[in-house]
């Protein structure tokens, strides 16, 4: 789990192009959207692509992301349970 969380942080930084940020800067429990990291709806779509591409998880609509992308930790838990690759 720990590994997955670290892996995810790196991937998020990479895919969202969070320049100058390191995995250590992201609190695994902090909200990704709104306060916290301050991501928006397009970032959510990018994360949906990430989920599909790297973990084989297909989300049918953007709303499903809301729950899953609460924090890096929640995301990692969801991936662990649903990943197909």
């Amino acid at each position: 789990m720990k590994e997955l969380i670290e892996e995810l942080k790196t991937e998020i930084i990479d895919v969202l192009n969070l320049e100058g940020m390191t995995p250590a800067d992201i609190d695994e429990n902090a909200p990704l959207f709104g306060e916290g990291l301050g991501l928006d709806s397009i970032d959510a779509l990018e994360l949906i692509v990430l989920m599909e591409k790297n973990y084989g998880i297909k989300l049918a609509n953007a709303n499903e992301g809301k729950e899953i992308f609460k924090s890096v930790k929640v995301m990692a838990e969801y991936i662990k349970e649903h990943r197909t690759k």
Partner: protein, 761 residues
Amino acid sequence: MDNIVITGTGIISSLGAGKEETLEKLRTGQRGIGPIRHIQTKHRDLPSGEVEYSDEQLKELIRYQEESIITRTSLLGRVALKEALEEARLDGTEGLHIAFISGNTVGGMEKSEQFYYDFLHNNSRNEYIAMHDCGACTDIMAKQFGGHFDLITTISTACSSAANAIILGANLIKEGRVDIAVVGGTECLSKFHINGFNTLMILDKEPCRPFDADRHGLNLGEGAAYLVMETEATARKRNIRPICKLAGYGNTCDAYHQTATSPNGEGAYLAMCQALKSSGLRPEDIDYINAHGTGTGNNDECEGIAMMRVFGDRMPPVSSTKSYTGHTTSAAGGVESVISILALTHGFIPANLGYQTPIEGHNFKPVDHVIENVTLKHVLTNSFGFGGNDSSCIFSALDTETPAPMQASEAGQCYIQSAAHVSIQQPIGDDWFHNPVMPAQAYSESIEPDYSKYFAPMAARRMGRLLKRALATAVEALGNHPVPDAIITGTGLGCIANTEKFLTAMIDNQEEFLQPTFFMQSTHNTIGSQVAQHLKCHGYNCTYSHRGTSFDSSLLDACLQMRAGAIGSALVGGHDEMTPAYFEMLGKIGYWKSGDVSPDALRRADSPGSLSGSCSLNMLLTDHSDADTLCRIAGMDMLYQPSDEELRSAADRILHQAGLTVKDLDAVVTGLSGDRDNDAVYRTFLQQYCPETPVVWYKHLFGESFCASAFGVYAGAVCLHKKLIPSHLLYNTSEEISNPKHILVHNHFQNKDHSLILLTL
């Protein structure tokens, strides 16, 4: 000033070709939405509003017998254009000034996506390379009219493109620049668009249900529609019966988010208010709203709220006809204007198909079935685009009272207050003026400034380099001045680097795992709307994408509105970038020189091609001057395929209006670039018009790009401001010129589109 009237309309969409088929489907409530037929995509199951005619069938339909190849976007456009011109009985023999303004987003993408690797790796499809950009599509369509237009340009504000073409056309008529404007938009479905919208997860897998609580997104469509506009007086003179009036219009920017509408629909609200204000009508005068109504969760909710803010509890009947046609993106403003006019003239209200349940918080229900036998006097149609480019137009029946549009005041002046650039020269400042870098090869990358000065890294996370350049130069050019009244952008290709990323990923990954960020930036108005978002500028916002006169078109729009007193300031920009792949492709069709690109080699102009340069330049225009002002724009014009004589007399006219003659000119700034054919055009003009006048060039420093002419205007302005033309800018003499006062800037693209801009102190 007379009313502006519509005298011809033409339309093609998934409802059919021509008004007759369209009308029948509209009145019988038949959708034109079904599975994709022609495009070979993985997503064929997505319901779409594809035009049923294949390319070959469209060619037969308009008897397209020209040898030259043509893109589907242009073909669709020509079908609609032909119908509109025929109805307005225009055949080019009128001796009137006619503009053609077309909206378009992805240009020839439907061919580029098929042939991309051919472009790169072999030479079998090279002829399509030059047809990729939006302006090329308009150019191909203009042939329909045998080249009788005398001003053409292309607007690319995504889904509001065609509506903005209507607005520019109206402004050109009001200004007296043209007698007639043929306006609208065209767009064909492409794999690129389908996949792009798919990454945003806003495509409904069922036929769309605008304004329904259970809506799940939009269906893409394709189509084209054009309107012929002129004044009542012109129509009377031509003995043609008008169809209806264009009573008012508004263009504003939501300045909120690249793809989302602000919660209270601010931009939409402002656009509708502006349209009402300019028409002198009250909200209760509107008898029907043809809403933008895409069917996405965000748009419909916020558009509804914006309409409620305008109309309160007296909401007129509302429907979104995208439920019939799908979202025809760039063409939508035209398609829906023609549909609105059909409703107005035939006395019916088209249905909002698929509607069942109201959206929570909306106080209205859209019209869920076709209503016949109604009298419509005033119809409002909304067109909103990505990036919050929101426009509204009002069409009125002929027998209604609407105040005549305001005569242009001619009072406004237009000054270039400041400018900033990113290019292959030292960025932002005017280092280049004293210490120019002389490029040694045909491909150079721009020198990037330190962006952290202009915006936070978090804000820049999704910006490609062109967006960063545009934003930095905007912030720099604006300096301490207040937020401008307008942001007007020129870009020939938009953010081509990210467009390319999306396109290659789409091809390589077989339409999977595509990133929305790259798609968003492919829409050319991303640049202008990103700037508006950053500056929180809700004012007029428009993007021109017309090849080598993209920047010139922006400048013309700004000057028109400023002279008319409609705006007091504008940020006008020209932005284009180059990528190695695109450089290679354009190289294949003769854009670049191989070997020596020193000024001497370029002066010889003995071979095709020039050197490539990226361009990001923003200038602030104001209607008043101060000590820092660079110069005044004393006059400008754009011309399409002028004869040598017409070009000369246009220059005379501009000088004359400023009280000058050719002898007063201290220099002519030209786009001489070493390209044999293009340079010959400049030389002819110079020889015939002002053989004695010193010639300034700039492309040997900034390179060639679709927006390179921005550097011409900029260089002229800096010279006037610094009271010096340095020798490195002079083409035919090495002696610097001091105290220049009057400079004429001439730019042309392939001898089709010309612009003349007079700068004075």
